[in-house]
Amino acid sequence: MNAEVRSVKTAAEIGFADLFAAARESLPGGDKIEAVRRDAFDRFAAQGLPHSRTEAWRYTDLRRLLRDAKPLAPRSDAAARSVAREAGAVFAGLGLRRLLIVDGAFAPELSDLAGLEPGVVVRATVEALGADEMVLPLDMAGGDPVAALNTALAADGVMITVAPGVVVERPIHLVFVTTGGTPAATFTRSRLELGSGAVLTLVETHEGPDQSDYQVNVALQVDVGDRARLDHVKITGEGAAALHISTLEASTGAGASYRDFGFTIGGAVVRNQLFVKLAGEGAIADVYQGSLLAGRQHADTTLVVDHVAAGSQSREVFKAVVDDEARAVFQGRITVQPGAQQTDARMMARALLLSDEAVANCKPELEIFADDVQCGHGTTTGALDDQLKFYLMARGIPEKEAEALLIQAFVGEVIDAVARDDLREALTQVMLNWLKERD
């Protein structure tokens, strides 16, 4: 990595340096953790904010999109926190175990911690950091500047472990909420460890007020043990002016299954970066991502899938519906390491543009260092098919409804990847609501 020497720092970069200098003393963790934070911040400072010449960020120029660093969110007051009770409504009524993270801090008193299944442990990240546990260092995302910023500044989040062999029936719902008030920045770090053979569904929602240009930087590390199974569903539904940067690192053991579904509907600027490592033999990873964008939204989904062990399989499907002047970005890289023979990996990115000003940038890549593999990728970008629309209208279906039906069919393919019926129905409802707002 060439640490670029830069003479000019942007206002936001200076802002982050000030933030870090001011917060360093008060951030949780002892000397060892402080050293990790400082090291991470230095890595950020050496690179600065990513911009169009930063390879992994070429379509999302944060130097331009992120004008200033907001102050760290203060601990929210009781009134603000009570608003948070209503959050995560998309999945209301499904009986999920709700864990609330309000303005960047885990709120146990608002969370449903009663009757935790034996073998399931939930802790606040601040607690782990207080005990000097080395929970901050990142692996695949370590070199990324905004992930480094997360390591430097993360103050809280949730740490979940599921003991080997424990099958958790009730999904856990991480409800991330930013409450009103002055626009602020939150940095959270969460972690999930599934012991061998454990099974869990983890749901995440992210939301906040439309009027505030708040900033969210979340990171989640996931370790799926041998033969364990994790279904992960994330809805990025931030407020209309918000910035949301999310880093996910997942590593799968032998025979493990990791199924990821992401839906981006909210936020002005969104970056979802996912780093998935198929570390154990015969592991399976499915990453399905959908973006429904309108107005001037900019949403970037960047995926790095690393096949390390032999006989692993991955499917990556990205679908974007882009209206108005919005922009969808998809970058996907599948790497097959020399030892990963019999890898079966396929990636597909499709964008549906609903207006002439809508933009999609798709860049799939394969890097293959093994010879006995099956890999492929493809992309398509296009408008709604007029012929299909006419066929529907010729049967009496009004234009908007015909379009909605076709959009629904297009997005349906990724939603169908979600295993649980109740979650799939809720996600379908999210899509229908989005379509309703269109007309």
Binding site: L388, Y391, L392, A394, R395, G396, I397, E401, L405, Q408
Partner: protein, 252 residues
């Protein structure tokens, strides 16, 4: 009596090319009209212009449907008023289940006509019954519309849609193409069940064969964008013997 469909001097272009050249045709309730003609005569174009497919420019003439200006209506409005086109090449729509499509179409039409929408079980019941009549495997209704259907299955599916939607005017474009004799019989029986005193039909076909099964009241020859000859059902047999060569030269 106002005709069900009254086409007067219709002229239409696509991509700057004139296809319909002053076409006249009137269809009354209860009548079946066959339109025959050589390839490229403009038969499909006529069916598309009637159903409101975008891309055609109407450069002359008028079309009245039950006395109303058909050309002023959007395609969905025409459908709700009772116009149905059975496509020569039915389209495949991945991700839209056949049954969902049928229910959406039926209820959209009912809604537009101010009729009460039908519940999913009610629609299912009707569709099942029609599927049985047309020898359509009920499993097919769960599959995405026309995706992976054979040519015959697509045509039977078109016939099912027509029977479900109960249109006032059915326009069948080359419904016989790609059908073997058994499938042809099934589809023709389906069409014949829809014959009714208050319903008209236009059966477009290149071959006489279909007309053995769906017997028309009137036969027209369409060549170079106009109706050039009209007669009884014997005209179809005549055409079978002589071919279209005389009309092609006549039109040129």
């Amino acid at each position: 009596m106002t005709a069900l469909l009254d086409i007067r001097g219709l002229k239409a272009e696509i991509d700057g090319r004139q296809i319909l050249n002053g076409l006249d045709l009137a269809v009354n309730k209860g009548e079946i009209h066959a339109i025959m003609g050589p390839n490229g005569a403009g038969k499909s174009t006529l069916s598309y212009v009637l159903s409101g497919k975008p891309g055609y420019e109407i450069t002359g003439g008028e079309v009245f449907f039950n006395g109303e200006d058909l050309l002023a209506m959007d395609p969905d409005e025409r459908a709700a008023k009772g116009l149905f086109l059975a496509f020569q090449y039915p389209l495949e729509i991945p991700g839209v289940a056949t049954l969902t499509f049928l229910r959406t179409a039926l209820n959209a039409q009912r809604k537009k006509r101010g009729e009460e929408e039908l519940s999913s079980p009610d629609v299912l019941k009707r569709v099942r019954e029609l599927a049985k009549q047309l020898s359509i495997d009920p499993e097919m209704l769960k599959r995405p519309l026309n995706v992976g259907f054979s040519g015959g299955e697509k045509k039977r599916n078109e016939t099912l849609q027509m029977a479900l939607l109960e249109p006032k005017l059915c326009v069948l474009d080359e419904t016989d193409s790609g059908l073997d004799i058994d499938a042809l019989r099934i589809v023709a029986d389906g069409v014949n069940r829809l014959r009714a005193a208050d319903r008209g039909m236009i059966v477009i076909t290149h071959y006489q064969r279909l007309l053995d099964y769906i017997v028309p009241d009137v036969v027209h020859v369409l060549a170079a964008g106009r109706i050039v000859k009209t007669g009884g059902k014997d005209l179809a047999l005549e055409l079978e013997a002589t071919g279209y060569a005389q009309y092609q030269s006549e039109a040129a």
